[in-house]
């Protein structure tokens, strides 16, 4: 079955440190890939997306993600984390074909230490 895996449930980083959140998907072809962020009590906001082309994509709030076909991964990165980045992050995939559905990972909760 198609799936999205975020292996880290909870991550804590210090403010100013770099960040990498992991995401793996199971699919033979290239899916549409997304990263969303959810602040406490809020809906999800799109950070960035990938379908084709340059495998390093830039998003909002200084985030970027790299698609690696060989590893079936789409990891999210930020060079220097700010306290306001504390939130939950979700990776999602839309697989090809007629479906319009996204499959979401279970999320990674990011805490930022001062």
């Amino acid at each position: 079955a198609q799936s999205v895996t975020q292996p880290d449930i909870h991550i804590t980083v210090s403010e100013g440190a770099s960040l990498e959140l992991r995401c793996n998907y199971s699919y033979g072809a290239t899916p549409y890939l997304f990263w969303y962020v959810q602040s406490p009590g809020q809906g999800l906001q799109l950070l960035l997306k990938y379908f084709s082309g340059d495998t390093l994509v830039q998003g909002i709030k200084g985030f970027e993600a790299e698609f690696k076909r060989s590893q079936s991964s789409f990891n999210l990165r930020k060079p220097s984390v700010h306290w306001s980045d504390a939130a939950e992050y979700f990776c999602a995939c839309r697989y090809g074909g007629a479906t319009n559905k996204l499959i979401f990972g279970t999320g990674t909760l990011l805490a930022v230490q001062p």
Partner: protein, 113 residues
């Protein structure tokens, strides 16, 4: 900017009540979705709609129904609320062409007592 609004941010209902959650989007999107979000389980799709009066079951439709009488509005109905339906409910929409990114509302936190 796309705007997706949900009728209530917080809702408390009693077991057995009929509950309506409303979602409205203002960007003429064809597709609309209802998810529930629970800790450790991520987002799970309840129902989605790809056109007015058209709907399709998602992964966890049991205990829920939906209605889409107008393109901009998608309602989730809990026919007889139960305590295991206490959750955060998120509505989303997207247009058919493009990258298919979904735009989300702020969510409704429903508590069934």
């Amino acid at each position: 900017d796309v705007k997706v609004t949900q009728s209530s941010r917080y809702l408390v209902k009693r077991t057995g009540e009929k509950v309506f959650l409303e979602c409205v989007q203002d960007m003429d999107h064809e597709n609309m979705f209802w998810y529930r979000q629970d800790p450790g389980l991520g987002l799970r799709l309840i129902y989605f709609s790809y056109d007015v009066k058209m709907k399709e079951k998602g992964d966890i439709p049991e205990g829920y129904s939906v209605s889409r009488e107008k393109k901009e509005r998608f309602s989730l109905i809990l026919e007889s609320a139960s305590t295991n339906q206490t959750s955060m409910y998120l509505c989303a929409s997207h247009r058919v062409r493009g990258y298919y990114e979904q735009y989300f509302g702020p969510g409704t936190r429903l508590t069934v007592t």
